[in-house]
Subunit: 484 residues, 2 copies
């Protein structure tokens, strides 16, 4: 039980960063006192949300024909060195294991920063014939990067929780379809289950994953109007299959390189997004699907009636449990008000209050966390009410966040306007652009960190004007934002 | 699909080690070509069994009031050095991270060999009052030990998959009850779900976990008559709580040290045991509960009837899927015989064969993998048949393994008899013993590795005679066996 029920949280809209730092600790999500920079402890409240979020994506991957696998956390040096761009991209940020017991290792090993170079040497053994394709594997694991920027719980650390899927296809067309499938999985989860709107970007060439031909990324807008990349899917072409000799004999007997894709779902960042987007000044607001506890029952005691109240609470609890809901009956000694405070802080989507009046009228008091609204429902309609609320809550959360995204995505026509918005408003800024990295660098310099995040995937609109930076003919319409 | 359907597996009873090494590769469970000693790759077939086994224990831990948490994979040196016995026990076998990017770390970190020293510094912050107790947390993770003995897939490696639960209690009585609860969880899973018999041992003082006052271990007998430790629970007393200052204010205002326990469930070893114990010369035999695929449906084609057969197979498939079974319809182009071979190798507990005759008679042909027996069931009794089979298979597997254990547990009265059995039979040898480590060392030396595994937990029988080694008055009845 949280001790301090008096001090309000910092205001989320006014001071998101303080609000975030405070909520992750006050809701007992993480502990930052582990003593190694960038490594934090995940307490039960958030570990359960992480688990639900993992399962959401794992179930979808399974459904779409992926299989789970597990590769070691260490990568031998000779595997890591096989793909040149990949080494360049990652070698500055890996952790090295050089000793075991009292002896120096003959060859150092690294902690995986991502698993391409761990998995692909084995893929070379497994892929022989076109009949072995597609090969679609994923692992749910942690990866390690020696991050030098400031760390922030769940958003940027040196150990992060994700799922990585690595696929080999027969043709580049199949690979392109795989990337679309990856997008579909992500869109379904973010939109249909988590109420998280995003922009799906095709990253510019200078911002692709190390070793990829094309990188597509899901960018979300946090309340401070900065953007966070939470999932990516990449067309790797033959870059890795050539380096790792992943070849197959096609139906016609010719030897071909596999067409590869990889797909990363940043589970800790997705959870950070859930916290950041949906939370309010009373604490977390969790979508029904990933809430560790979906329904909390609070008895409203009254002298002389408490036996009756307890009985009714237990009956309702059992009924909901039997229906498969994650439900708890809070029969602790605290005052109802303290219980309300506590479970609101933890973001439980639905609270049921049961007191003597409710029982008399055959009703139950329902409190929905998202709107902080109370209403009565007939006891015999409770299940229908909850089913309905589950959808309503998701719709409500999604609508709020879609409004935020829309209000904070602004089209500008010239550099002055652009700089003004970058300076004073933040969010996504839509511009006409020459596709030249030099202009991207100018943007970054003059705005203190804004980046060209890329073109909107599937964008049909064509550029009609000039690049707002250099004045050359625009080649595309891109979105610019300040990343985490 | 497995290519080689002709070469039989080595005989399991005659040559367990070859059989094991072959089955883990032929059933595509693991790949040993990762290039770092003791680190192996877990392919989809086994990753799914691992996942099911994890969930079995996780669900039980949740049910018994534990909460999930996640601690970093790295442990800072200063945490690791806090408990003297623990350092002594583990420092020779840890992996050290000394570099990140291009720079040497100021302080080296180690990969966790187990998480006491990662978790307990935080426990010191979290435990303040008796109201915070019991604290019951677990994590499902991997741990790292620089193992110098010969490695064997899933049985002994440098990276292993387990669950570790770490609890703090108010009184030593509560701690003892916790250990009993840990035993109950393990017994339920092993006995009721996996059909694995075991001896539950109280380890002798010289074989306790580094830092524990008492160690209880689940030993199983593999087909080569050697024993494998698959789960342990430890009474830590105040050893760690003193070192890490885990203190609480009791109800009466006095400051006390927490009474600790920890509990390890060796998931990879439990899966190794499932493979080893239940498998036969045709491949894996999986208990229903952890089988990735519980039911495989194989159509038996017949010219002119194939549309009808496909339709019926799909109907049955959908019915079983809707009931929540993990079921697959194998409609590939292979011959039925090749399909039978493949799914038997993978240990699918139940196979349904559906051909024209079956359909005519309103029946389905059922094959149970454990007994390799075929029988007919009425289509409208299929669900009942499967429900019944599920229990029958478990009973059958358990009965076989209990028989093995019984037949390979032998009581001996003197040293000659003991040495003869150790040399020629293996298994558990029950002896009267003086409790002196010197006699345990003599046993080890004269038998080439047999160890005193401890007293049976809850043993009521008292020693009546002399220690079979030194001839002094016996203090206890112990079990001796050759460990992996």
């Amino acid at each position: 039980m949280v001790e301090d029920t008096e001090t309000p949280l910092p205001d989320k809209e006014q001071n998101f960063s303080e609000w975030y730092n405070e909520i992750v600790q006050r809701a007992e999500l993480v502990d930052l006192r582990y003593g190694v920079k960038g490594f934090i402890v995940y307490r039960p409240n958030i570990s359960t949300i992480l688990r639900q979020t993992y399962r959401l994506f794992e179930d979808a991957l399974d459904e779409y024909g992926h299989s789970v696998c597990n590769f070691p956390v260490v990568i031998p040096l000779e595997f890591f060195q096989k793909e040149a761009d990949h080494i360049k991209g990652f070698s500055g940020e890996v952790f090295w294991i050089t000793k075991a017991g009292d002896s120096e290792l003959d060859k150092p090993m690294l902690l995986r920063p991502t698993s391409e170079t761990a998995m692909y040497p084995l893929y070379a053994y497994w892929v022989r014939s076109y009949r072995d394709l597609p090969l679609k594997l994923y692992q749910s694991n942690t990866v390690y990067r020696y991050e030098t920027k400031a760390t922030k719980a769940l958003i940027r650390g040196r150990e992060f929780y994700w799922i990585e899927a690595h696929d080999v296809h027969r043709t580049s067309e199949d690979a392109v379809n795989q990337v679309k499938e990856d997008m579909e999985i992500t869109i379904n989860a973010l939109h249909d289950q988590l109420g998280i709107p995003f922009l799906l970007m095709e990253r510019p060439p200078w911002d692709r994953f190390a070793g990829a031909n094309q990188t597509y990324a899901f960018d979300v807008l946090l309340p401070d109007k900065n953007v966070l990349q939470i999932a990516t899917t990449h067309l790797l072409g033959e870059n890795f299959s050539k380096a790792f000799e992943i070849m197959f004999e096609d139906e016609d007997g010719t030897k071909k390189y596999g067409q590869q894709t990889c797909f990363g779902m940043g589970i800790s960042r997705i959870v950070a997004t859930i916290i950041s987007m949906h939370g309010d000044n009373y604490g977390l607001v969790l979508p029904f699907h990933v809430a560790p506890l979906q329904i909390i029952i609070v008895p409203i005691p009254k002298k002389g009636k408490n036996e009756l109240i307890t009985e009714k609470c237990e009956e309702v609890y059992q009924k909901l449990k039997d229906k498969g809901y994650r439900v708890k009956l809070d029969s602790s000694e605290e005052r109802p008000g303290a219980k309300f405070y506590h479970w609101e802080l933890l973001g439980v989507p639905i609270r049921l209050e049961i007191g003597p009046k409710d029982i008399e009228q055959g009703e139950i008091t329902v409190f929905r966390r998202d709107k902080r609204e109370r209403f009565q429902t007939k006891e015999n309609q409770l299940i229908e009410t909850i089913e309905q609320l589950r959808d309503d809550i998701l719709k409500e959360l999604r609508a709020r966040r879609e409004k935020d995204l829309e209000e904070n995505t602004r089209e500008v026509k010239n550099k002055e306007e652009f700089l003004e918005i970058a300076k004073n408003k933040g969010g996504f800024i839509k511009i006409e652009f020459c596709d030249n990295v030099k202009c991207a660098e100018i943007i970054k310099e003059e705005t203190g960190g804004y980046e060209v995040r890329g073109k909107l995937f599937g964008e049909k609109e064509k550029p009609k004007d000039k690049c707002i930076i250099c004045g050359e003919k625009a080649k595309s319409i891109v979105y610019v934002a300040k990343p985490y």
